[in-house]
């Protein structure tokens, strides 16, 4: 997995750092939830303001366990793929999908209530920025330089 964009070593290392930081964030979120059985995304989903029917359905009694488990699994897949540098692009696609879902449930749109956020946002919030960073990493993959993919390529 290489890109035709010519990057300096510093530029490439910067992207590797970005990949590790995002992977770190995803993996920690996933593991924390995995080891905390009381956690559920029910309140976050059921209070969604956009696409209410979809999120109400996802947060229904019938669906919530599956949704919670899928969320934990996806968070960990993204975290592991980015940190280990293996199936990097697959992890990135999962990550972007998750972040877009989080954004749509509670978008930073004018007029929408932004409960539980620690900053001030107008249209752009941290979920969207993290998704954009993953978008960049998708187009400039770095696992061939840092991660298990490097060993695979050389094997």
């Amino acid at each position: 997995m290489k890109t035709d964009i010519n990057l300096s070593k510093t530029g490439r290392n910067s992207l590797i750092l970005l990949r590790i930081l995002i992977g770190w964030h995803f993996l920690y979120e996933g593991v924390l939830k995995l080891y905390n059985p009381a956690w559920t995304s029910k309140a976050y989903l059921s209070s969604a303001e956009l696409l209410k029917p979809l999120f109400q359905w996802l947060s229904s009694d019938e669906m919530i366990n599956l949704v919670d488990n899928l969320n934990i699994f996806s968070l960990m897949v993204v975290g592991l793929s980015l940190l280990l540098g293996y199936f990097e692009r697959l992890g990135i696609v999962f990550g972007i999908c998750l972040l877009i879902m989080y954004y749509i449930a509670h978008p930073a749109l004018p007029g929408a209530s932004q409960v539980g956020t620690e900053g001030s946002y107008w249209i752009i919030n941290k979920n969207l920025i993290e998704a954009a960073a993953l978008f960049v990493l998708y187009h400039i993959p770095t696992s061939a330089y840092f991660g298990l993919n490097l060993l695979k390529k050389k094997n």
Partner: protein
């Protein structure tokens, strides 16, 4: 990567290849430790508290012959009680169908239709306004059972077409009708406040005690699941010594201030005005008095009897603290200067100097409690009902939340170890989490927040009035005593009357526990004071 290096791992490549693994290990360790820690901390707190939030066993079966019920009073509360029995007016059913079509989340109709069948028949109606009586007849009559109208309650209670009566009249008629029904051997469900004055409170108590029928006062929150959980919290002495309770009313709309619609068809020909007046001072026909009777002491009981009675009984059903030793009330008419003579702002301080919920400190140190009821009909800011104990504070409404107190004796170690944070609830019980509710008005929200509109059984929303009526019907069918019987009604009524008296006289009113009576005040007949149709005496 040079061509020479291809297919050969240098040490540098190996490090770059597996460098992510220790990071994964570290992050995993950190996340797992934190997650396990959170879980252990939560489990430890729950184990310490050991609160049992399980719902009560359902009241008995509803089999056998249908119970024949007469409805006395079919204004606002009467139709609500009929719906709780399973009988919706035609006009209500049509408007609810329309509402749910407009808003799919409006589940009032579906909740009504899903209610358990209580195996009752409405066989008789007594309302003094012809239009309303006819509405009940048209709505509830079937091919087999024609609802019979009685022009007076006396004829209805003496009729053999009813076995039980539901009384939802203005307050000044509660006791006279309830006593007549009891004497006629009919089971009674009477709305709150149980009585309108002191004398009839004793008379009703005597009538209930002399009868062998089932008597229930309409404090439906006794069926609310969070209140049943709160009883367990107090029983396990989680709060420690409760020194102060605050309960509040904040409403800021016409409906909440008893400014109900006046029906155009009401006139001296369609309303039995003389019977409406009853023991109140006679005045010429007045449609506003007929439809907005809660605004005058002559027929209603003001904030103290109308709304504080709910709050007092909400606390009394949890603590069972009985009638306060003394009450001091104050307030005025500050928002609705529309001719009413009951206050629209009222503060009531109830003292219980000998009561204690328990203690975590040395014996004898703590005793006594104040309950403060604070009300305004000119502001809608939502204030919580809070039980403030030495060890914890409990907020109770349709949900229940407990905060450990920063200076608690019982939880001292857990607070020092930071296992408990005084700003984060140590226990939260919210039966509504399993469903989304539609609330349609400010006053409805006020009642819902207090647990007066609905509660939950097995995660499903149920009208608490339906459960309260069900309990009454179960006792009629299967025996037993309802949760809001004459003892509870007597305590609610006397406390409400003491609050009203204190407001009107501008002085402290004392209760004599030994004699079970309000202490007399020289120069005043307390019943006359209570009924006197003026804002304040002093």
């Amino acid at each position: 990567m040079s061509k020479d290096n291809k297919n050969n791992w240098s040490r540098r490549d190996l490090i770059k290849g597996i460098a992510g693994m220790p990071i994964v290990g570290s992050v995993w360790w950190a996340g797992a430790s934190k997650g396990v820690n959170n879980t252990q901390s939560r489990d430890s707190i729950l184990k310490t508290l050991n609160i049992n939030a399980s719902p009560p066993p359902p009241s008995g079966p509803m089999g056998g012959d249908p119970i024949r019920i007469g409805i006395i009073g079919f204004g606002i509360r009467g139709p609500q009680l009929c719906r709780a029995l399973g009988f919706g007016q035609k006009s209500w059913l049509a408007s609810m169908a329309e509402a749910s079509k407009k808003n799919p989340k409006d589940n009032r109709l579906s909740s009504f239709l899903e209610q358990e069948h209580l195996n009752v028949q409405i066989t008789a109606i007594c309302d003094l306004f012809d239009i309303r009586a006819q509405d009940a007849i048209d709505s509830f009559s079937t091919d087999k059972i024609k609802v019979q109208r009685f022009k007076s309650h006396q004829d209805l209670v003496e009729s053999n077409v009813v076995e039980a009566v539901i009384i939802a009249t203005p307050d000044h008629w509660h006791a006279p009708i309830a006593i007549a029904a009891l004497q006629a051997g009919k089971h009674v469900y009477v709305e709150k406040p149980m009585t309108h004055n002191i004398k009839e409170t004793y008379a009703l108590k005597d009538a209930v005690e002399a009868s062998d029928v089932v008597f229930q006062v309409g404090h439906q929150h006794r069926q609310t699941q969070s209140f049943l959980t709160a009883q367990d919290v107090v029983k396990k002495n989680i709060l420690g010594h409760v020194s102060l309770i605050q309960a509040n009313t904040n409403r800021n709309d016409d409906n909440g201030a008893w400014q109900y619609p006046i029906e155009k068809k009401a006139n001296p020909y369609s309303v039995d005005w003389r019977q409406f007046i009853g023991n109140a001072p006679m005045i010429p026909f007045n449609a506003e008095h007929f439809f907005r009777w809660r605004k005058w002491w002559a027929y209603g009981s003001g904030l103290s009897g109308d709304l504080m009675s709910h709050d007092y009984d909400r606390v009394n059903c949890i603590l069972k603290m009985g009638i306060p030793s003394s009450i001091v009330s104050s307030g005025g008419i500050y928002t609705h200067k529309d001719g009413r003579n009951v206050p629209d702002v009222m503060q009531v301080n109830m003292e219980f100097p000998d009561f204690s919920t328990g203690s975590s400190q040395e014996a004898g140190k703590e005793k006594g409690m104040t309950m403060v009821y604070s009300a305004t009909l000119g502001n809608q800011y939502s204030r919580t009902t809070a039980f403030m104990g030495h060890d914890a504070t409990m907020e109770v409404g349709n949900s229940l939340t407990i905060y450990a107190d920063a200076k608690s004796t019982k939880f001292k170690e857990k607070i020092i170890s930071e296992e408990m944070d005084p700003y984060i609830p140590i226990y939260q019980y919210d039966p509504a989490l399993k469903s989304i509710d539609g609330i349609t008005s400010a006053t409805a929200k006020y009642f819902a927040d207090k647990g007066l509109l609905w509660t939950y059984r097995d995660g499903k929303r149920v009208d608490s009035t339906h459960l309260h009526l069900r309990e009454w019907l179960s006792c009629i069918r299967n025996g037993g005593k309802p949760s809001c019987n004459i003892k509870e009604g007597f305590e609610e009524a006397m406390t409400s009357h003491m609050a009203g008296l204190s407001y009107k006289l501008g002085r402290r009113i004392d209760w004599n526990h030994a004699k079970q009576e309000i202490m007399q005040i020289k120069g005043y007949n307390l019943d006359e004071v209570l009924l006197q149709d003026s804002e304040k005496i002093v």
